[in-house]
């Protein structure tokens, strides 16, 4: 049983500098690692995967080049090193053994800007129970603890769901077959297959001994010779088939690697396209900005008129008020002048012009008094009723009004708003561009073309392998048929030594056949047990009471069975996740090898009820469980209730800045 004790990360992905996560290295251990999206949860999982197997995968399943693994901040400070160290406890019946593994890659000296993986040196440290082992034993130690093929069931992320969905399809892909082999490996099927191989070898040895003895008898000598020859030929052809299949496997692996690399390059090609789009949009924004700035300068040429306008309006208002007052004074003066003339006439006349009578003295006195008032007012108005000033103000007001505003300020306000938005958009896009450029570091377009050519060549080679395997398999069947015919002839000879050797041969061959059948029975039984365990877990996790359980297929794909006994044809993403977790739980319970389960964003697709059920189940999933969760799927206050008291440690991945995250132990 493998248990994690400590993970030390240096400059891996978003982790700038050195970071450490310490566990008890014991059973019944549940660790929660909180981190928001983009903080570095998947990178943490990838760091463990990379240390063990030397490969970190991106979301599309492609291998991430070393240059992209190194923290960008560290790179900008000149560091070319990435390192992950894992302390493990290997527990078996004899006790605990400490195993210490460290993988480090460092840019080769003399290469200023390493881009391809070949530009890096790799350093492997392996230490078992305090003994430093040669670095070529690193992979053996890892295979002993957790072979890569089964790691997908321990280091679990969203990728498994995609693979799992392939399992349930009838026309399962090669990838699904690989998952099936991994499942059988975790369940211990290869051990039975090795037993069958051993029995075949013993059977062949016994058959040779029988043939040798048979050759001593003239009547069956010819058949014995033929059987011996045919057995040699069968072995040779069988070896040939095996070798052809091995070569096909190697070619297939090369093809898979190239396809994965192409897939990852596809992803990068998409990024390169995004970068091109961003550059185009930035260029468009820059051009638009230049045009706006030019327009702004053109409008600014007449802006002085608009800036002057409020003051001119203010002055004109003032002058108009003055002119209005002068106009009023002039009107009043005109009326008063008429009145003065009238009063003068009244004073000067002795007799009434109408009736001819003398004007009374008191009326003259009144007219004199009134005239004095008029004169006094006229004197007051003399300064105000300035006709020249009135005319001059009119001309001034006209001239001031002639300095008309240009009316450009509204357009300028709009342009400056546009420019501010243009700036915001450009800053946003520039930031995105920097992020995409980071992702594209080390991207080599020529590599895609080279791999495309290699892929075509490998596909042709696989075709040739298949033809050769087909021909060899037919030959093998013919030779086995001929061999059986000769064996039948030899059985007619009844002789004690021969009979004894035949029994021995038949015993091994019979045992081999039984083993072959047993492997089939074993896999059937294991499938049944996986179905049973997975169904039991599924029923404890699902909130839908109309589900009766799960049914397994040849590929270990699980379908949901309704209470009616029918297969549920369509299932939601959440149901898919619960089925996948049920399979993982079942495999961990039945596994020949046990190890820690580290799950990235395991609750992403689930509603609250399912989340609670799974949280209750998680501590029983494996001996040691670490969950990488974000606040959208787990609210510490609300969702950790079911595991309260069972959590042995909590960590937080803090996103410090765009290229730097920090791993902190939570105080709570």
């Amino acid at each position: 049983m493998m248990l994690l004790k400590c993970v030390n990360i240096e400059n891996f992905g978003p982790y700038y500098g050195k970071h450490s996560l310490t566990l008890k290295g014991d059973t019944d251990e549940l660790v929660i690692i909180h981190g928001e999206n983009m903080a570095g949860k998947t990178s943490f999982l990838n760091a463990i995967r990379w240390c063990l197997y030397g490969v970190a995968k991106d979301r599309s399943g492609g291998a991430i080049p070393t240059v992209q693994l190194i923290n960008t901040g560290a790179v900008s400070e000149g560091s070319k090193r990435v390192s992950v160290e894992i302390m493990i406890v290997d527990r078996d019946a004899d006790g605990d053994t400490d195993v210490h593994l460290r993988r480090q890659r460092q840019g080769k000296s003399g290469i200023a800007n390493p881009t391809a993986d070949k530009d890096f040196d790799e350093f492997l440290d392996v230490d078992v129970a305090g003994n430093v082992l040669p670095d070529d034993q690193f992979d053996d130690q890892v295979n002993n603890l957790m072979p890569e093929r089964i790691s997908r069931f321990f280091l679990f992320d969203g990728e498994l769901l995609k693979e799992y969905e392939e399992l349930v399809r009838e026309d399962s892909s090669m990838h699904a077959r690989e998952v099936k082999r991994a499942i059988e490996m975790i369940l211990g099927v290869p051990a039975a297959q090795n037993g069958k191989t051993d029995l075949d070898e013993l059977g062949a040895k016994a058959a040779r001994a029988y043939n040798r003895e048979a050759k001593k008898h003239a009547d069956i000598h010819e058949s014995a010779e033929a059987a011996d020859r045919l057995r040699d030929e069968v072995e040779t052809v069988a070896e040939e088939v095996k070798e052809l299949e091995r070569q096909r496997g190697i070619t297939q692996k090369q093809l898979t690697d190239i396809r994965e690399d192409l897939a990852s390059q596809d992803h990068l090609a998409d990024k390169a396209k995004t970068l091109g789009d961003l550059e185009d949009r930035l260029e468009t924004l820059a051009v638009a900005r230049k045009e706006k700035e030019q327009h702004r300068r053109e409008l600014a040429r007449d802006l002085w008129r608009d800036v002057l306008e409020p003051r001119l309006r203010h002055e004109v208002d003032k002058l108009e008020r003055e002119r209005e007052a002068i106009g009023k004074a002039m009107n009043e003066k005109s009326v008063l002048l008429q009145e003065r003339a009238k009063q003068h006439k009244a004073i000067e006349e002795e007799k009434c012009a109408t009736c001819g009578q003398d004007i009374p003295e008191d009326r003259k006195m009144k007219a004199k008094a009134s005239l004095a008032g008029v004169e006094e007012r006229l004197e007051q108005l003399e300064a105000m009723a300035d006709g020249d000033r009135h005319d001059s103000l009119g001309a001034t007001i006209k001239r001031m009004r002639d300095v008309a505003p240009a009316g450009v300020s509204t357009a300028l306000v709009e342009i400056e708003g546009d420019l501010a938005r243009n700036d915001t958009d450009r800053v946003k896009m520039q930031r995105r561009k920097v992020g995409v450029e980071d992702d594209l570091r080390g991207f080599d377009p020529d590599r895609i073309r080279k791999h495309e050519r290699e892929k075509d060549g490998l596909l042709r080679l696989i075709g040739k392998h298949d033809d050769a395997i087909g021909r060899a398999t037919d030959t093998l069947a013919e030779k086995r048929h001929d061999l059986r015919e000769h064996q039948k002839k030899m059985q007619s000879r009844d002789e004690p030594t021969l009979n004894q050797l035949r029994i021995e041969r038949d015993l091994y061959e019979g045992a081999g056949a039984i083993f072959e059948a047993s492997i089939s029975d074993l896999t059937d039984e294991l499938r049944g047990r996986v179905e049973e365990e997975a169904s039991s877990i599924f029923k404890s996790l699902t909130t839908d009471s109309s589900y009766a359980g799960l049914r397994i297929n040849e590929n270990y794909g699980l379908s949901i069975v309704a209470n009616t006994g029918d297969i549920v044809p369509v299932r939601s993403a959440g149901a898919e996740q619960i089925v996948a977790l049920s399979l993982i739980g079942a495999l961990n319970r039945l596994a020949a090898k046990r190890g820690p389960v580290i799950m990235d964003t395991p609750f992403g697709r689930l509603d609250r009820s399912h989340r609670e059920n799974i949280m209750r189940f998680v501590p029983t999933l494996a001996d040691q469980v670490a969950l990488l969760v974000h606040s959208g799927e787990i609210d510490p206050e609300r969702d950790l209730g079911p595991v309260k008291g069972k959590i042995s440690g909590e960590y937080r991945i803090v996103h410090v800045e765009s290229t730097k995250s920090r791993l902190e132990k939570s105080s709570g």
């Binding site: 040429r301 002085w304 409020p310 002058l319 300095v403």
Partner: protein
């Protein structure tokens, strides 16, 4: 308005200019792409000082470097007329008043409205409008 008599002043200018500090501000405005040429900035500075109710000093000017012919700066005499009407004391020397107002306007632009190389015309227009709305009988000073 100033009670300083225009008659006491020298005769009006035919060529108009700016101090070194003001030319530096014009350089910054041009280099930052806010104005097409110095004349645009100079005219705007005069309007800015008038808009904020500044009074032109008509006393003998300090060190100035000639920049433009008045006829080119104000081809339709609009600025000249505005200055002559707003500042009666400068009626006979509007170009001299304009030169001092440009100095004041460029100082306002630099001190109040330039942040680094940034400058918002919208902010200037809004501030001048506000100053004149609040001014009542006499416009406030920036």
């Amino acid at each position: 308005m100033s009670s300083e008599s225009a008659s006491s002043q020298e005769k009006d200018l035919v060529q108009i200019g700016a101090s070194q500090q003001s030319r530096d501000v014009l350089d910054r405005l041009k280099d930052a792409g806010h104005i097409e040429d110095y004349m645009d900035g100079y005219r705007l500075a005069i309007a800015l000082a008038i808009g904020f109710g500044r009074e032109p000093a008509l006393a003998p000017r300090g060190e100035r470097k000639t920049m433009f012919a008045v006829g080119n700066l104000d081809p339709d005499n609009a600025l000249r007329e505005a200055i002559r009407e707003i500042y009666p004391q400068a009626r006979s020397v509007p170009s001299r008043a304009a030169e001092d107002l440009a100095e004041q306007g460029l100082a306002i632009a630099k001190d109040k409205y330039m942040q680094g190389e940034e400058l918002s015309f919208a902010e200037i227009v809004s501030a001048v409008q506000k100053a004149n709305e609040l001014a009542g009988e006499s416009p406030s000073k920036a």
